[in-house]
């Protein structure tokens, strides 16, 4: 219905584009006719009140669920196509860490899984960039909430391609220092032409990040 | 209460460490000759059994080992209970130190029993009540050891293990009285407090010698293990650090 201020379309296809998108959970239609684009170099802040459908939308974008109607393309291909060539990163509300593994091992597995560099040095520097120097070898079960979130986000520190990042409440449980570190990663990513689609109930640092907002409460 | 609490919590480990250190050589010195004498009497002096021939001689290991397996469990449960009630670290460490030796004797009783079973009953194993409950005892020891080992947090491990040890103590009377409650293959008590012993004096002497040897061995090994535990757990305490520096200077002097 309404496509919030679409940016001037860049040369390449946008990282994410949705048209006429509708999503149903159970028997409730969360939204319909939603259209938006996320282009390279953009940080897009998906807003909406509790239960509005932000998480559901992110899962559509990641291809973990199929839309009720309309289509959502990632790098020009339907998001739910399983054979995707172009890389992207999805970090959901769950941290995907294993209680019994150490922070290093957990992160290393995730990187190997996604075919990213996973040498000990790469993992170590990623953890360091999220400020986890002291707890690298601690079992995940002994980490505090915020430390776990940091380990999950450390995946972003090894990324070096201008790809799409889809982040569900990444600031959750982070302290001021953690927020700062995440912002650094986001800005570096945008600077290399990558794009970010994230949700957050916390006010973003609009001065540094200059995010474009999509407010589900107002559209659809 | 607070006095006792303090003794158990703070004074005990240091004093225990010193006292046990002095006793251990004597205990070893007692265990070795007692065992030698007991084995000699059992295998060379005691007469051949009329029905079972030579195979019965395994009794000199089997019965003392079976006794020890039960006594050690009771001691373990006792210290666990003391540790629980008074929050006494030393008591937990003693319980912890007793478990492997108890498991060893239980295994020994089972093993020698099985070896004996082949000539006596024609089979290694039957599911009779005493044999089963002795097997349960082995499981209880192993369960205790595994449980304590599985818990990273020392305090939680101590208390969880203690609870198990206390609950498992019901098994001991079952083992002991099983021959009386069920009529089974296994032999009833031959040595009781009330009746006169039915066996030859040499056999009895040999058995008692072995029993004392096992007792001395148990004390020695358990004290050694407990001392190691004390040092490990109290490594941050002043007296352990003193001890370390003293032994280091002694090494340097020699």
């Amino acid at each position: 219905m309404l496509s919030p201020h679409v940016p001037p379309s860049p040369a390449a296809a946008p990282h994410l584009s949705a048209t006429g998108l509708a999503c149903r959970r159970g028997n409730r239609l969360l939204f319909k006719g939603l259209a938006f684009e996320v282009a390279g170099g953009e940080i897009v802040w998906l807003r909406g009140r509790n239960g509005r459908g932000k998480t559901s939308l992110l899962r559509l974008a990641a291809g973990l669920a199929r839309p009720e109607d309309g289509e959502i393309l990632r790098d020009g291909v339907a998001a739910s196509t399983s054979a995707v060539d172009r890389r992207f990163v999805f970090i959901g509300h769950a941290n995907a860490l294993k209680d019994d593994l150490s922070a290093t091992e957990s992160l290393q597995f995730l990187l190997r899984l996604h075919g990213r560099p996973c040498s000990a040095a790469a993992v170590q520097s990623a953890l360091d960039r999220m400020g986890l120097q002291g707890r690298r070898t601690a079992a995940v079960r002994t980490l505090s909430q915020g430390q776990r979130r940091r380990v999950a986000l450390a995946r972003l520190a090894v990324e070096d391609e201008p790809s799409l990042w889809i982040l569900d409440e990444p600031y959750d449980a982070l302290d001021a220092d953690g927020i700062e570190r995440l912002n650094d990663l986001l800005l570096a990513h945008a600077a290399r032409g990558g794009s970010v689609l994230l949700t957050s109930h916390l006010e973003l640092d609009t001065v540094r990040l200059r995010p474009r907002e999509i407010d589900l409460d107002r559209c659809a | 209460m607070t006095e006792r609490f303090r003794w158990f919590t703070f004074a005990a480990p240091a004093r225990f460490h010193a006292l046990a250190g002095r006793l251990i050589p004597w205990l070893w010195a007692a265990a070795a000759p007692l065992a030698a004498a007991g084995l000699y009497m059992g295998f060379f002096v005691a007469p051949t059994d009329a029905q079972q021939g030579e195979s019965y001689r395994i009794i000199f290991i089997h019965v003392p080992a079976a006794w020890m397996s039960m006594v050690i469990y009771l001691a373990m449960a006792f210290w666990a209970a003391v540790g629980w009630m008074f929050n006494a670290r030393m008591a937990f460490m003693l319980a912890h130190a007793l478990a492997p030796t108890g498991a060893l004797f239980t295994f020994l009783a089972l093993w020698t029993g099985a070896l004996w079973g082949k000539p006596a009953w024609g089979t290694w194993w039957v599911w009779d009540a005493r044999l089963t409950s002795e097997l349960i005892l082995l499981f209880l020891y192993l369960g205790y050891i595994a449980l304590v080992a599985a818990i990273d947090d020392v305090r939680r491990g101590d208390r969880a293990g203690a609870l198990l040890a206390i609950v498992g103590a019901v098994n001991i009377p079952i083992i002991y009285f099983s021959v009386r409650w069920w009529n089974t293959l296994h032999q009833g008590a031959t040595i009781t407090m009330t009746a006169a012993p039915k066996m030859a004096t040499t056999m009895l002497t040999a058995m008692l010698l072995m029993t004392f040897a096992f007792w001395a061995y148990t004390f020695a090994v358990v004290f050694m293990r407990a001392r190691a535990l004390v040092l490990e757990r109290e490594s941050h305490a002043d007296w352990v650090r003193d001890l370390a520096t003293r032994s280091r200077t002694r090494e340097e002097q020699s």
Binding site: D100 | A129, T132, L135, I136, F139, L140, L142, G143, A146, L147, A150, I151, D153, R155, R156, R159, A160, L163, L164, V167, G168, V170, N171, I174
Partner: protein, 222 residues
């Protein structure tokens, strides 16, 4: 006291009923194991009839051990258990309620399914009766003891085996007297002695196990 017991007990039943089919699990387990046996062992009725009571008891034991390991797991993971221990009211009551719910959901259906075994394996009327009574007296013991083990091993890395290692040995007496009762009937004797020992076992565990469970829960949450 009573309302606390009922609150916890009824909630567990309701949760189980939400998963309708899941409540059939113990029965399914029982029936499947019992029907796999003739496949594996061979179909001679004489052998099977002899096997039946032991089979029923072993199934009951395994079903109880396997389901009890999850007794506190989900409450632990989602924080409910913490809330239960924070009521300031007796944790023993809560432990008793959880054990009771476990028995209602795993022991009771199994007893209800036991007559089926009579059909499948052609067990005599009297023996079946003795089997039912022995299960009725024995399965609560399994739930009560299982709860202690589950509480002790809560959140540990090797909870599964530890639970087996800790609890199964303690349940062996129930197994022995349970099958003993049936064997007595088969031999034309009265199973009364066995029943009274089972009853004594039940009373003993009912009095002590919830206390131990409550203590273990406190230790595990610390």
């Amino acid at each position: 006291m009573r309302d606390l017991f009922l609150a916890v007990y009824l909630r567990d039943l309701r949760l189980a009923l939400r998963r309708r089919v899941e409540t059939l699990m113990p029965v399914a387990f029982f029936v499947v194991t019992a029907s796999l046996f003739p496949l594996g062992v061979g179909p001679e009725p004489q052998v099977l009839r002899q096997l039946a009571p032991g089979l029923a008891w072993v199934c009951a034991l395994l079903a109880a051990m396997l389901s009890v390991s999850q007794l506190f797991a989900s409450d632990f993971a989602d924080g409910s258990l913490e809330q239960m221990l924070l009521t300031g009211r007796s944790a023993v009551v809560i432990a008793a309620a959880k054990s009771a719910a476990h028995w209602t959901l795993s022991g009771l259906p199994l007893i209800a399914a036991a007559p089926l075994l009579g059909l499948l394996f052609d067990v005599h009327r009297d023996a079946l009766g003795a089997l039912l009574v022995s299960l009725l007296l024995g399965t609560p013991v399994l739930s009560l003891l299982g709860a202690v083990g589950a509480a002790l091993t809560l959140g540990l890395r090797s909870a599964g085996v530890l639970l087996l290692l800790l609890v199964l040995p303690l349940t062996i007496p129930a197994l022995i007297f349970g099958t003993g009762a049936v064997a007595a009937v088969d031999a034309g004797l009265s199973p009364g002695g066995h029943f009274s020992i089972l009853g004594a076992l039940l009373i003993l565990t009912a009095l002590t196990a919830p206390v131990a469970t409550a203590a273990a829960l406190r230790i595990s949450l610390e």
